[in-house]
């Protein structure tokens, strides 16, 4: 069954893009979003983040940061990440602002806050299509290593879901199986378009 997937984290940079990248490479129909108000990337110190608006192309960020301090941003992996991202899609997208992107079957979030935001946003939309949407949350720490792991897990999960005609009957088993196998908590909810 061809489902449409959305990967959502807060900035649409690290976790969601890692998963997006992996799912896309596996030929799944996938998009990715962030739910934060801005796209934030590490700056020279904790108090000086690089803040961008959603929609700023990854390429632009890449060029900018490379100009600012190539050493720093290479060391903390930002440049590599941006490079990966700019090959996946043009720019980070905000979930709440992209309701027009169409109907997703499965949304994966990587943080409970994001999960709540997505659900809240879905609930605030007019639900007229009567189409179910599965929203799952997998807690993934926001660093490169964990994102890689989380992306892999998300891919596995989506591939498993993809193997079913509908997810409504099997989701409990899939989640239980996943939790047992990966020893990670997986929370899901169901919303409607």
């Amino acid at each position: 069954m061809r489902f449409r997937y959305a990967m959502v984290c807060s900035s649409n940079q690290n976790r969601s893009m890692e998963a997006h990248f992996l799912l896309k490479r596996q030929g799944l129909d996938v998009a990715s979003y962030g739910t934060g108000s801005h796209v934030k990337l590490p700056g020279p110190s904790a108090r000086e983040p690089n803040v961008y608006d959603f929609g700023t192309p990854y390429k632009q960020m890449f060029d900018e940061l490379r100009r600012k301090d190539p050493e720093l941003y290479k060391r903390n992996g930002i440049l590599q990440m941006l490079k990966r991202n700019l090959n996946v899609k043009l720019a980070p997208q905000r979930w709440q602002d992209n309701a027009g992107d169409g109907v997703f079957d499965v949304v994966m979030t990587f943080e409970e806050k994001v999960f709540d935001s997505v659900l809240e946003d879905l609930n605030n939309r007019e639900q007229s299509l009567m189409k179910t949407i599965l929203v799952m949350n997998l807690e993934v720490k926001d660093n490169h290593e964990e994102a890689a792991i989380g992306g892999r897990l998300a891919l596995e999960l989506c591939q498993e879901i993809e193997g079913n005609e509908t997810w409504e009957d099997t989701i409990d088993d899939i989640v239980a199986g996943f939790e047992k196998q990966q020893r990670r908590k997986l929370v899901y909810s169901i919303s409607f378009y």
Partner: protein, 1515 residues
Amino acid sequence: MVGAIMAASSYSYSYSREKLQGLARSAKSATDLPPKLHRLRNLRRNLQGEASVFPAELLPLLFDLLSDQFGAARKFVAQILGEVGLNYVELLPEIVPLFIKSLQDDTPAVVRQVIASASALFRSTLHKFALQGLHSSELDELLQSSWTWMLKLKDEICSLAFKQGNSGVKLCAMKFVEALILLYTPDPSLSLDSQDFNISILRGGHPVLNIGDLSIEASQKLGSLLDQLRHPAAKSLNSSTIIFLINSLSSVAKKRPAYCGRILPVLLSLDAPSFLKGVHAAAANLALKTVFLSCLECTHPAAAPWKDRLIGALKEIEGGSQAEKAEDLFYTTNGSIQDKDCVEDTKVSVEENSLRANSVVAESNFGRKRSGSEYNIDLNGDALTGKRSRITPSVSGESTEGLNGNSVGSLPLVTSASTGPSNSRGVSDTGPVQQLVAMFGALVAQGEKAIGSLEILISSISADLLADVVMANMHNILLNGSSYADGTDELVMNMSIVGSDAQIKYPPSFVAGVLSLSTAFPPVAALINPHTPKTENEGEELCVNHVDQPIFPAVDAVIASGLSASSVNEEGNIELPPNVDYRGNIESGIPGLDSSAQRYVLSEAPVTSVLGSKNVEAASKNQDTSASGELLLAVIPSVSVDKSEEFSPKATGIGSNSLVSSTATSLASAPQFLLPKISAPVVNLSDEEKDSLQKLVFLRIVEAYKQVSMSGGSQLRFSLLAHLGVEFPSELDPWKMLQEHILSDYLSHEGHELTVRVLYRLYGEAEAEQDFFSSTTAASAYESFLVAVAEALRDSFPPSDKSLSKLLGDSPFLPKSVLKLLESFCCPESGDKVEKDLPSGDRVTQGLSAVWSLILTRPGIRNDCLKIALQSAVHPLEEIRMKAIRLVANKLYSLSFITQQIEEFAKDKLFSVVSCISSERGGAETLSKDCVKPVSGEGMDSSLEATSVTEAQRCLSLYFALCTKKHALFVHVFSIYKDASDPVKQAIHRQIPILVRTMGSSSELLKIIADPPNGSENLLMQVLQTLTEAAKPSSELIHTIRKLFDTRIKDVEIIFPILPFMTRDDVLRVFPHMVNLPMEKFQVALSRVLQGPSQSGPVLSPSEVLIAIHSIDPARDGIPLKQITDACNTCFAQRQTFTQQVLASVLNQLVQQIPLPMLFMRTVLQAIGAFPALSDFILEILSRLVSKQIWKYPKLWVGFLKCAQSTQPQSYKVLLQLPPTQLGNALTKISSLRAPLAAHASQPDIQSSLPRSTLAVLGLVPDSQGTQTSQVQASETQESQVQASETQESQVQANETQESQVQASGTQESQVQASETQERQVQASETQESQVQASETQESQVQASGTQESQVQASGTQESQVQASETQESQMQASETQECQGKQQASESQEQTSPSQQVSVPLSHSETDHNQETSQVVASHSQSSPIATGRSETSQSQSSPIGAGQSEVSQTTQVSDSDPPPAPTSHTQTSDSQVSGQRQPDNEKMEEDTATSENERSEVDKSKESSAEEEEEEE
């Protein structure tokens, strides 16, 4: 055709009905799904484009398609139909029945699509229906029928929702129900004139629809939904349904708050753990939590009674923190959930914050929610237009009275919500002194304007009272101090700034006020510290509200501070004690700043309370609070307004505060609040100045180590530095400064502690569940800091210093780069600095010990550390390698959690060394580069061999070390040994002795030895050697080796090591095998046998060894004679061991053996050669041999004669003892003896003692020499004659082949003993023959008795009596023959006219003497060997058959002698006879199986050779 239509339709926007129909038809006719869907898609697009009337004829086609074979097609058609239905209501009565039918579809997706379409249809139909009914009393019939159908469809769908079935369908159906409920009930949030449909329009009256009925139905449906979640039913639901129900019900509850009363109880009861056990608890819990939180925000009265229970339930779900949040939410009207986002969004636009504040007030203020709406809008309006611009003017106009008035005005707002009884505590607690303090505070807060009032107040009160007031204030100052001492660094920092600045810059009259007011600070500080998010919002609110209602938010702030203070209490925060103290004191001091209970005082104070003191109190109280807030916030920015954040520990807290502070700053210019001294110090610094200031601060703290450590505050300093480092912008590079400080004097600067503190701080920053950017920044700072310090420690401290490993051990986390650093310690690259660094060994030790402790204490990086250690253990440099191996094998290997890994690694290396180095020998240079790291680039080829040995050692050492710990591992060394290349083998052999010595003969090792893999013999040998070298081998070991030798490895060498420890019998048993070895090895074995274990003497004495050699039978033991003689020679070569005495005793023993050993005479000859002194002894032996009739052993006889010859003239005496015949024979053979012997015998005294016959032989009395000779000859050949006389036939056969001869004798025998079996017959006949021969030589009796001896022996053994009796029989035969022989001989000796003799004599005459002699010797030789065999194998009566062989031999000799053709050389003849002699054991076999003759032939050839050699030797 179809394609053309499609193409046309997709590019053209004007569609005719025909085209549409054509599309539908082609879609219908398409057999595959993809084209079908494609056409349907086109159709749909075309339909959407169509604005005109729907082509009715299309409908049947679509209906047909609704029962298409493909589910996907049906689904799509249902979608199209739904859209058609939306556009053309008149078609609904036709469409809906089919929808109802399709609800039973097998494919869930179709059903879901139908429900979805139905949902839209239902809504639009209801809408139309309702509207039409409102506007006209006459309803369109078509619409009415459509509605009726829709109702039917609705009922069908609802029934689907409440029965078991496909989850997806069920969810959709339930969603439909939810939508239905919402549709049927009025939406309170929509006003009547809203564009959206609202059922409440029906209130106007509708001919068909009754709003009440609809509500009842909605209520019923809701009940059905709720029932599903009620206890028994819920258990059978899957969790997706439960989650859906929770979500759905919550949205109903939110959208229709009236239902809260019904929905919330059910949801709350869901919380029972027993229920949640069955389902996916986490998801359900989460859903519930969301619901509860959203319900808490609900403002509908129906929701209100449930709030407490909701909070309780949330508490249960989330634990304390969440509930507190809820409490906050509920009571402080701080509605938005403050998540990290708002913390992070320090730079988020003002609008957003103000919006939040707006929503806060609007939605969730418990007390104000109704009356406050207009007011809030005002407030929002203000906030939206921008706070900063409006702050100053709005506040500035207000006077003290205005302030008070305001507070009065605001109080009712607060109290309006009061429900409880009034609490007068606030009043009763307030004494006159406190009131005065409060009043002072209020006045002071007004700044200079109030100075006049202050002076009036001061002058009007009594001195005593004034003193009391001052004292009360002093109390507060003291408190300040105490909290300063105990507070956290952040607190301290703020406080100190507050204190110092206040003292310096404020007018003295103001100082007291400030100080007293600053006591209000701690709760706020406490707020800032652990509950920053809240503070922010409070600050926000504070500032927003300040605009219009200066007092009101202040109350909130107090409440908030009180609340958070209490929550701090609950959490047992460090700051608890000072706060408690503080509040306790304050209670008596400044009433307005009481604990959380104070809010009741405030909110519950009756409106009617007298304005007098109460009002003042309230006013002052509020004033206090707000002023204090301002003070705090204003004082901080007094250093630098905008960058105040950098001085404050929590950026987030300050972020909000700075807003307030800016407010306060601008407020300061207002007349009432004007505090000129506050505004004065505001200096705008440039970025550079700020940076340098910060840097100075930082450096000052850094440099203050001496003072700080003296005063005992170094912990604080560490924390401070670490914290500042995190907060500072990276341009300042605080870490660099810190590093420099740390490394400038690591020890005295408490470098370790500081470093660790910094690392923990950074690590915490990196690991905190913050977002991406801060964690990555901190992580990279962490890494570089740790690496820098570690490298500096490495470079500046000697390797013996423990600082580095202590640092690594104490660091919270070791990044890869540090591990790499460690690796460079443990496994320095060969080209690295190692060469320069002489004490690199110590460095390695340092690294390894660090690795060790990390492995022990850090499970997380255990694998990485282990990898380092293991890499080091195969390091090319031996010194390093040995160190690492010691660590791995002795310390790490015993750790159970890594044993496996270590073993695997070592095994890999072991196996790799075989595959790698062996393949390298294949010639691939590239491979060799991979396997062998060349120590130096050049000279590679020449040193290849050596390199690979060391390389092999490099890879093997670890494994060997492990073997000593776990002996079972050793087996793999054996298994790889076979395939190992020479260098590897060499390496193995080098290490084995040490290894095996360490291991000892453990049971595991024995197990390996007991079953060594093929090809590992050499290794095994070395192991055994090593094992036996050191100590006496255990009996188990000996047993194992013996068993191994017996069963698997036939190589006798294997038992060499244990030879000294074996029993004598065992040694004797394997002795022939040893003799069969090459000379050198035999020598080794010999020395071992003779050496023996030190305590108990040799296993075999030298004489025993010699005897053992002599008792070997080449034929029986399958050992070439040459080997035996070699062994003898070897023994003789060792004169120290095999001394004269030894030889004498050996000969003495040997001569007693019957029959004599084959090599006896040879040994005697050798003995003479070696020890001439033995000659007398040997003569004695010779004479004993004479008495033993030595001449009957032809071979020995020759030796005897040689011996006599070599010992002449002493041997003459012995010779003369010979019977005349033998003497004659001897003289014939050694003619050189004749003259001296005759001369000797002719001595009168001797001659007289000699018999005449002897003298005749010597020619001393007349007798013909030739006759004598022929006589001898005749007697010798008689045997064959006898044979011949028995059957002429058999003799003929004998001429032809040997086998047939045996066969013949068998045949012959069968005549005599027919009853015997074939084999026994042969034996018997052979025995008989031997008897015959015996009699023939005229010594029949002696011989018989000799044979009898063997008979006795035979009967004594396990051989059956039958055989014994058999032999006896043959003996009888022999005696019979004897008789006749005796006669015969008599006649022969006298007449010599026997015909056969006549035949033979001429023949023998035709041969040379020498020739005859030789053939005889040969015969006797071949004769002797069987006899010897017979003797040694005492257990078998083999002597008889062998005797038969012997007779055969002689017969053959005869035959060849009598051969008419020209005689071949003697050599040929003798060897032939030898052959036959050798062949006799084979003959036995051949009787059974003549087919083996070919096989024999080769054996014969061999023996031919050996006998030929022997022959040469003999000569």
